[in-house]
Symmetry: C2
Subunit: 219 residues, 2 copies
Amino acid sequence: MRELFQQELREVQDRLVEISTLVEASISNATRAFAESDVKLAEQVITDDTKIDELTVSLDELAINILARQQPVARDLRIVVSALRISASLERMGDMSEHIAQLTRYRFPEKVIPKQLRTIFGEMGKLDIEVARNLTILLRTEDVKVAEQIRIDDDKMDELHQSVFDKVLGDSWKGGAEDTVDATLASRYHERFADHAVSIAKKVQYLATGDWQVGYIGH
Amino acid sequence: MRELFQQELREVQDRLVEISTLVEASISNATRAFAESDVKLAEQVITDDTKIDELTVSLDELAINILARQQPVARDLRIVVSALRISASLERMGDMSEHIAQLTRYRFPEKVIPKQLRTIFGEMGKLDIEVARNLTILLRTEDVKVAEQIRIDDDKMDELHQSVFDKVLGDSWKGGAEDTVDATLASRYHERFADHAVSIAKKVQYLATGDWQVGYIGH
């Protein structure tokens, strides 16, 4: 029984890694589509998000099944409950990529972001791709040092998010209302993407260290 | 054992209703603070959100405890797992109220929203308060007709959200970049608030009817 349970937990972990890998691809494609106004790639991101949603639903089914059959307690129970929460956050990260892709599609053939902000959004995209890549590594290895890196990147993201507003609200801003709306939304999506990664990282860190307070607060 | 379990489920339900009631107060206060640039009330909303967060953490602890001690299966298991998800959504709804309050505080003593949009945001606020009120009723009564009303209100909210963008991107828009940023964010927060309510309503509806497809897709 115990051995079967361990095997099932590995299956859960493998599936989380699989979803995280897809999220990595989605933010990478969304960022490129956004920077290059590549509407085809944007549509690809939107279509691919269905796959992430399906895998999430199927993982949740597996987790609920494990709860029903194995009736885990203590740490084992918390691992399975955490998996449910991690999958919910991964699903939302996929949604953020999809939203960024949707912005690209709405504005096509115009570019979404005016020149003044291209550097900042380039950095945001790079940072979110790094966050996603590290998240996949973290889910595979449970290496808490990687969790720390995700937090550091999220702090950088918060600074970039603030700097978007500084630009948009500054005297030198030349964008129209459309540019302002797009910048506001795109910046918010990037920032939320990293937030979800931090919330997952906390859960993994909690599971690895048993330090309940670290992992629990904040869904 | 069975009776104790039923009693514990009622306790879970009571706590969800309690949190939902606080969310109702928070969106109601946030909407008023936003409309009247009442910075004191805005700060109250921000402070009160801590209470919602604490109650959510404590409810989640209870749910995990029930899973460990009662080892529910089938429908009972799904009820407890759904409670975990519902509490996560309620917590996010509280965050949306808090974000609306934060916008009010940032802009004080200026009003957040320019005249041109006051009617629309007034309607959004009223709609979100109604959604929250119905959510509390739904959680208490499990009356699926109320779930339907929440969906209808969410559709109206989506229309209002779209109409904000129509205004902001229209020729008659006189707002500056700051107004555009605020309108974009506030509209998004209102819209997300209602989205979370719909996602909760689907879960309650699923539990009441057993129709898995209704309740499950979308976290």
